[in-house]
Assembly symmetry: C2
Homo-oligomer: 348 residues x 2
């Protein structure tokens, strides 16, 4: 007599066959009920009772319990509207897809409570792992990351002793590349439009700007420095304030959204770019190439950071016991029309 295979031959767990046999219904009926596809009340009652009795757990969830295979990887970024995260996401998507998984993206608005809540949600194992790019990592972030049953990789600044994989760039050096370039093209009155100084990116860029000026023997002129936020409208307003009180021959902007705002302020004020004022952004997003003139911009390797973070995550999913890894992606300057050298002499 052929023994009907009622239990999973691999791990002996009850399967839909087990449930169907116990309920006295067909496999098809049991399957419909267990997948929530609807059936008669009587059938639903019988199948659910049988499932409870035999301890049945649906396959997808059993996989999630047994082998950490939700098949999903999460990415949490501050703002999907910032093209720098788009580049990062596309690179991550490519790596995740090649591993047969699906990427899910969360936008946190940069709100620490939202970020930490997401990290704590990992206790439910709703994904196989998560990549986060927080503006600032607090103790609450760290605790949630360490307690997470699935791996987390941080893109951005992280305490050296944090037992979490990390990929970072060096925006301080990146700002220096931009200043060096502007000085090399003959500019000396270099303005700087930054984001808030009480953020990690803002503070790093400010320090990098002052250090770079010092390296060229240029005294920082506080009237040439303005602070807003890392967004278009705030960048435009900050540039307008700066231009109302000073006459820079160049503007370095802390990201491309600010640079686009500064471009608007410059053109609306009748200044020509690069002839009157050179312009350089940061992040080297698609936006920089879409402008006219195209914007020079410092790449902080967003796509590369995403790619490496995704690879570190997949490695740790496969080998949880690896020591924490630290990777650095160097900045690079893309020079375009907005900061070209211009002929010496008075404006025409």
């Amino acid at each position: 007599m052929v023994r009907k295979r009622l239990h999973d031959p691999v791990d002996g767990r009850p399967t839909v066959h087990t449930v169907a046999a116990r309920a006295g219904v067909s496999i098809a009926s049991a399957s419909r009920v267990l997948n929530g596809l609807g059936a008669s009340d009587e059938t639903i009652r019988k199948v659910r009772a049988a499932a409870a009795e035999v301890g049945y757990v649906p396959n997808a969830i059993a996989r999630s319990l047994q082998s950490q295979r939700t098949g999903l990887v999460a990415l949490a970024v501050e703002d999907i509207g910032n093209p720098v995260y788009v580049a990062m996401m596309r690179a991550i998507e490519a790596v995740v897809a090649s591993s047969g998984r699906q990427l899910v993206v969360h936008a946190t608005g940069g709100h620490i409570p939202s970020e930490t809540a997401l990290l704590r949600r990992l206790a439910n194992r709703y994904v196989d792992g998560m990549i986060v790019s927080p503006i600032r990592v607090t103790n609450d972030h760290l605790t949630a990351m360490i307690e997470s049953p699935v791996p987390v990789v941080v893109i951005g600044q992280l305490r050296e002793d944090a037992p979490v994989d990390n990929v970072r760039t060096d925006s301080r050096t990146g700002v220096g590349l931009a200043v060096d370039h502007l000085v090399a093209t003959g500019r000396r009155r270099i303005g700087f439009v930054n984001g808030p100084l009480d953020t990690v990116p803002g503070a790093a860029r400010d320090a990098g700007f002052r250090a770079a000026l010092a390296g060229h023997g240029i005294e920082p002129d506080e009237r040439l420095i303005e602070v807003g936020d890392f967004q278009y409208a705030a960048g435009r307003a900050a540039a307008e304030r700066l231009l109302a009180r000073a006459t820079p021959d160049a503007l370095l902007c802390a990201n491309d959204l600010i640079a686009v705002g500064a471009l608007h302020a410059l053109l609306a004020g009748g200044r020509r770019v690069p002839h009157d004022v050179a312009l350089v952004g940061m992040d080297d997003t698609e936006l920089a190439q879409m402008m006219f003139p195209q914007l020079s911009s410092v790449s902080l390797g967003s796509a590369e950071r995403g790619r490496r973070a995704a690879e570190l995550l997949l490695q740790r999913i496969a080998e949880p016991a690896l020591p924490p890894r630290r990777e650095h992606v160097p900045p690079a300057l893309s020079v375009r029309a907005s900061s070209e050298p211009v002929a010496a002499g008075p404006a025409a």
Copy 2:
């Protein structure tokens, strides 16, 4: 004697207390193992055996099985890099968050196999519901949506008889609004830079453009119509081709990414906007306001469509038996500097 509450008092299911008692370990130890937080091999073995014996299912997953509460809602869009989807996503996020759920976003690249695979994944109930904005809905899409155990709402074109909630706009009428405006400001040689005609958006815009011209007694000039793709670079190249062979006094572009490309082509070619050539885009994204001059653009109500779709989804999660709903969001034109009327007379 006080009876220890070993089983869930609400539904009688085995709890971590049940498992701990069966395994002969503390609640804390049982909880650590069941949450994948690590314990001695012996403890892990005892707890897992006990869990299987009593038919324990972790709370989050039990909730998922019993009450469809993953607490997640998915949004699947073609391309996170297009700012029109950013606006839609932000509106959806607000509604989803107010219901206490978390939004997860998928970028499908507009690939039908990716879109249908995502819809089929819903069989695993990994989210409580999904909003999709596909470029084109095929029978495979429809089948997966109908078979999904959780609700799906479609933003975009959908067959009238499809038993799925739907929110759509009217891009054909939207194109008409732009043409009417350009004619009203004195333009007659209106060029049109579109996306592929074998897409639903491309076909609708082409039909709307020709109908609008006819309404004004203007014969379409095929040399003033060019087709590329719904992206910046393709839009720029298409505009360049058009400008190489014709002299429009206005360019209508099928979306803002194309309009930014057209702006670049116009400015690089020494043409002034709006003085020589007026420019109008579609989608009315943040990009339109970031340009100089700011771009007029037809809003297709992306944010409003997102908001309504999220509300329909939440309603259906609460009441699965509602009849399919159809909602329409009308287009509206935002007039900005790029299409201002200009004084009559020869160019200075």
